[in-house]
């Protein structure tokens, strides 16, 4: 992704089987389409993509009562050359790895995350918290969505990696495992496969839906 521009999106739908599926698909389609029209690595552009996705979800709920109550989380990465920026709503995460270590992780909009901020629980406890699925912000609910958008352009370095994933993924793969599997992998596909095997074994066949996207920055 040296000279190229790109937009990567992951969304995790909520609200009944079909409604959740529609919500996440609509959000991804809207964000990808918006980024194709005016690709820009700026907080303003990300804000626009997310508000458009939110509007799309609200409109769809008005038109179709079957999907009323559909919601979705989302995490978006946009990059051009070495410049990158990201935004998220809910508990889908973006991890930024540098020199093989997690350098940054988005902060969930969830009940357990607010307990971390209040000092009631440790960050490591989010994974196992009984309220971990209670979200404080989602797409498709309010007239305006309050997204967390990185305010400064992030300069990527060769050898950096980014991981976008839903809670079904990060709950079952520890950060140290993401780091270990990253240094063992020559391609994003290798990396994702190694982590998926860990997830699969740990879940013992009882895992939820999960999605993960891996991006390597060329050396």
């Amino acid at each position: 992704m040296l000279d190229e521009r790109g937009c990567w999106v992951v969304a995790d739908g909520l609200g009944g089987y079909r409604a959740g599926e529609v919500a996440s698909r609509l959000a991804v389609e809207t964000i990808v389409a918006s980024s194709r029209i005016d690709h820009e690595v700026s907080p303003g552009a990300l804000e626009k993509y997310l508000q458009e996705a939110n509007q799309t979800l609200l409109r769809r709920q008005e038109e179709d009562p079957d999907v009323n109550g559909m919601r979705t989380t989302t995490v978006v990465l946009v990059a051009q050359g070495r410049e990158a920026l990201w935004a998220h709503v809910g508990d889908s995460r973006l991890y930024h790895f540098r020199q093989g270590r997690v350098r940054f992780c988005t902060i969930d909009h969830s009940v357990p995350q607010s307990l971390v901020e209040a000092g009631d629980i440790l960050p490591e406890s989010i994974r196992f918290h009984s309220d971990r699925h209670r979200l404080l912000r989602v797409l498709g609910k309010d007239r305006r969505v309050q997204a967390s958008i990185e305010t400064e352009k992030q300069l990527l370095e060769g050898g950096d990696a980014l991981l976008l994933c839903t809670d079904g993924f990060w709950e079952l793969v520890y950060e140290a495992e993401m780091e270990v599997d990253f240094v063992k992998s020559l391609t994003p596909e290798d990396w994702l496969e190694k982590m998926e095997i860990r997830l699969f074994k740990r879940a013992n066949g009882h895992h939820d839906n999960y999605t993960a996207v891996g991006v390597f920055v060329e050396e």
Binding site: G100, A176, E179, V180, S185, I197, F200, N204
Partner: protein, 287 residues
């Protein structure tokens, strides 16, 4: 049974040694504490062999860091003890031959292949070509960086802030089955009851190594991290929770306690047990 604390240096403070190249003016700081423990289990032969690179040469420590190696000879094949000894010796010899310019990861890779050739050559001499084999895991800590290679089911773990993760993937048939299960081609219950689930899919002594677990990029350690190498005699006998409960201790005590825990289970076919712990402690000894 053998268990020892590794520190036998001449210096006053075991963590700070005078560097021979600067005539003692600059203290050379050793950032790794080592521990190990070994037991024959309920077997007739000790087929595990382990060792460390020379920690008495500050010059070598400076460019090669500290290496630990553990090999577990395959009992089903001939001469398991001989195979793991040959592999360990060749790996240590080759790694020790590292020049300062050579990167630790390259030296490790070279040493692994030398160990593989050495096992293969030993099998030829004994006219058991390709029929002796051993697993092997080796880890190097140099500065804050970790490098490793592993073949077979001898594992490397990372213990970080109270959590234990398996660094290496076992080269056993079950891993191939898990990949099938992931695609929905078979069930997890079938894997657990599969008679060949523990069969090694890669080991030293095959002319071509089928799988090598290694890092292609440097892995940075945090102060307090522990790297554990152990043979299946340990990881087959005690649980991860049990390992975690001991890994916060001093390395030699942690090894001893894990060994005793495994023996306390009195498994009738208890395999040879070997465990090595490397503790990355860059701040210890600096006051």
């Amino acid at each position: 049974m053998r268990s020892r604390s590794f520190w036998t240096g001449r210096c006053v403070d075991p963590l700070i040694r005078a560097c021979e190249h600067c005539a003692g003016k600059v203290p050379y700081f050793l950032n790794v504490l080592l521990g190990s423990a070994q037991h024959i289990g309920a077997r007739r032969e000790q087929q595990d062999n382990f060792g460390f690179s020379d920690t008495d040469s500050p010059f070598f420590l400076g460019h090669g860091g500290v290496l630990a190696v553990l090999a577990d000879g395959m009992g089903g094949l001939l001469m398991g003890g001989e195979a793991s000894r040959v592999a360990r010796d060749a790996l240590l010899r080759e790694y020790q031959a590292k020049e300062p310019e050579e990167a630790p990861s390259e030296a490790l890779e070279r040493a692994l292949h030398a160990a593989n050739v050495a096992v293969f050559e030993a099998s030829r001499q004994e006219e058991h070509e390709g029929r002796i084999g051993t697993t092997l895991a080796a880890a190097v800590i140099k500065g804050e960086w970790l490098y490793w290679v592993a073949v077979g089911d001898t594992r490397i773990y990372l213990y970080r802030r109270g959590r234990l993760i398996q660094v290496t993937e076992d080269h056993v048939y079950a891993e191939e089955l898990y990949r099938k299960a992931l695609k929905g081609e078979m069930g997890l219950a079938q894997i657990r009851s599969h008679p060949q689930k523990g069969a090694l899919t890669s080991h030293l002594g095959m002319l071509l190594l089928r799988h090598v677990d290694r890092n292609f990029r440097s892995f940075r350690l945090d102060a307090g991290d522990r790297i554990m190498l152990c043979s299946d005699g340990l990881h087959g006998a005690i649980s991860r929770q049990e390992m975690v409960s001991f890994l916060g201790l001093e390395p030699s005590e942690a090894c001893e306690r894990m060994l005793q825990k495994a023996l306390s289970k009195s498994k009738p076919q208890q395999d040879n047990i070997t465990v090595v712990v490397m503790a990355y402690e860059p701040r210890r000894g600096l006051g």
